[in-house]
């Protein structure tokens, strides 16, 4: 999976957040879970999965190296 695919997935999720089709639906799933609420609960789990893919395939591997930069880059005291 490429970095670009991960970023695309995150954008798609941001779009899917706007669940206009459930706006006026008070249906209770399993007898207790409002459908508009259940959608966003599942959405949150999917988001966690997407961030797992981000750290797996789009990790900023240079951050660690940058953090350990040479002393000559240190600012004057």
């Amino acid at each position: 999976m490429s970095k670009r695919a991960v970023y695309l997935l995150l954008i798609v999720l941001a779009v899917l957040h706007q669940d206009f089709w459930l706006w006026d639906d008070p249906t209770l799933l399993l007898g207790f879970l409002p459908v508009g609420f259940a959608y966003h609960a599942v959405f949150t789990v999917v988001v966690a999965g997407a961030w797992y893919l981000a750290i797996r395939y789009a990790w900023p591997s240079g951050a660690e190296t940058f953090a350990e930069g040479s002393d000559e880059d240190q600012p004057a005291p």
Partner: protein
């Protein structure tokens, strides 16, 4: 009284934790302010989550769900799952790397260097402090409302005006004293440990509350069916939230990128990899904490006692919905445990906020203007503590004024921080971003925020919208346009600064050496 004893015992435990953390204190400012970059993945996850989940998440979300319905989860929780983790990933890791490399411990230090501007720091410091104060206020108001509800009847003579419950002024005083104690003794390490304990406590007790309350209401299905019959509008968003309003809540969680206390927690990380657990688990933790609160808030609209009266009567004081549900539907023992859990959530944010204020004052004002060597480590820590006490005193006095709902105060506070998000984002990803652009952005943010806050009757109109959207959208866009527009027509940063923050010409994300780029 049982609830009170349990909550008091819990506060005592935190005091002990502060003393133990003090034994690990290395006596240096670096250790006090950033725990010597020694925090591992679990502690970072718990402290970041504990810090971002405030009275707003538990008390405010329940109260808002009571008034607006299930849409509150999508407005804030699911957006936060996506956006908070994204900010940790795209902003937090980069700021950790920059902070660690150049020794920054505050945002103002970083922005002064990145934009080569002392003036920017001077403007930003009071704005950040002013925005943290309402954040602290949320904690004190939330704690006051919860303790008052849970201890009703414990002191019928001493506190008759609050039905025998602890008055908010006393709760605010106790909470402030306990948090100050363990922060003073333990430094940021003490706060991180306390956050870990407190996050575990409020997650577990929140789940217990949810199970017990639903059981008392006849089960999950019975509790929700009651709402379907009495208040079906609370089970959908039509009529309470417009689609545009719902979308613009996207901007609110961006605030996490500019919280000074989160910046400081990022810097405690041992390595970049330490962030991984936080990025993935933060959304799951949000689900675990917010989902029960939202359902409890929605159930509270229709839940009745055996005599047919509402558990949460119409016109109940703000910020008391969840505590009233717990108080009336569970035993005093459980009430005490849950009260401790709610207090834990509130204090796990207060500690980091108290702490960062002290750090900012000593670093950005004292050390910056009086010199690095004018004060020793111990003196700097002492000055930090003095400033913290002063700000806590101001916040405490504000909390004694007419109580407001936690939710709208939180939204206005987050709006200000979100309006500063373009500044931090472009500082990392756009090297052409200039000092004049940064100054314009901060000025436009402060001006637009003030004008809109005034138009909302200083936050009293909790449903205030500007052009049909949340004020945060306007503040964010105005701040971004000012930053980009002014940067494009003014002179860019010096080569030295560009080389310092963008050493290989790429974005800070992948800043690294050529070798790393090749292996990426």
């Amino acid at each position: 009284m049982t609830s009170l004893v349990i909550m008091a015992g819990y506060l005592g435990l935190l005091v002990v934790l502060g003393i133990v953390a003090n034994r690990f204190f290395r006596g240096t400012a670096a250790d006090y302010f950033t725990a010597s970059h020694s925090i591992g993945p679990v502690l970072l996850l718990m402290s970041l989550f504990g810090t971002t989940m405030t009275a707003f998440a538990l008390v405010g979300s329940t109260g808002e769900a009571y008034r607006v319905g299930i849409g509150v989860y999508g407005m804030l929780a699911s957006w936060s799952g996506l956006v908070h983790a994204g900010v940790f990933f795209f902003i937090g890791i980069r700021l950790w790397a920059i902070g660690k490399r150049y020794g920054y411990i505050t945002q103002v230090q970083y922005f002064r260097a990145r934009f080569e501007s002392d003036l920017l720091g001077l403007i930003l410091f009071p704005i950040l402090v002013a925005l943290v104060i309402p954040y602290l206020l949320i904690g004190l108001l939330g704690a006051g409302g919860v303790a008052q509800s849970l201890t009703q009847g414990a002191f019928p003579e001493a506190f008759a005006a609050t039905n025998g419950g602890l008055p908010p002024w006393l709760t605010g005083l106790i909470i402030s004293a306990v948090v100050l104690f363990y922060v003073f003794f333990g430094g940021l390490r003490g706060a991180a440990w306390a956050n870990t304990l407190q996050t575990a406590v409020f997650i577990i007790t929140g789940l217990v509350a949810f199970v017990l309350i639903s059981s008392k209401l006849g089960g999950l299905a019975a509790a929700s069916q009651q709402v379907l019959q009495a208040h079906p509008e609370r089970l959908m968003r039509s009529g309470s939230i417009t689609q545009l309003q719902f979308f613009t809540y996207f901007f609110i969680p961006l605030a996490v990128g500019m919280y000074p206390h989160i910046f400081q927690h990022w810097l405690t990380a041992r390595s970049a990899k330490t962030f991984r657990l936080s990025v993935v688990m933060h959304p799951i933790f949000i689900l675990i904490v917010w989902a029960p609160c939202i359902l409890i808030g929605v159930w509270a609209t229709s839940a009745t006692l055996p005599d047919g009266s509402l558990v949460v009567p119409a016109g109940s004081p703000p910020n008391t919905e969840i505590a009233t549900m717990v108080h009336k539907l569970t035993t005093p023992l459980i009430g005490g445990l849950l009260g401790a859990g709610i207090m834990a959530a509130i204090m796990s944010s207060l500690d980091s906020q108290f702490f960062c204020l002290g750090t900012m004052f000593t670093t950005d004002i004292v050390t910056h203007y009086f010199g690095e060597h004018r004060f020793g480590d111990r003196q700097r820590v002492f000055l930090a503590r003095c400033f913290i006490v002063a700000i806590v005193a101001i916040t405490y006095l504000l909390s004694l004024a007419e109580p407001r709902q936690v939710f709208p105060i939180g939204i206005w506070c987050f709006t200000g921080f979100s309006g500063l998000f373009p500044l931090v984002c472009t500082s990392i990803y756009w090297k052409r971003c200039t000092r004049a652009g940064a100054l314009a952005s901060v000025t436009v943010m402060a001006t637009s925020w003030t004008l809109l806050f005034r138009a909302s009757d200083y936050g009293a109109d909790g449903s205030y919208l500007f052009l049909g959207v949340l004020p945060v959208a306007t503040v964010f866009i105005a701040s971004l346009l000012a930053l980009v527009g002014v940067s494009l027509i003014t002179q860019g940063p010096s080569e030295t600064t560009i080389e310092k923050f963008f050493p290989h010409g790429g974005i800070a994300a992948d800043l690294p050496s050529d070798t790393d780029m090749a292996t990426d």
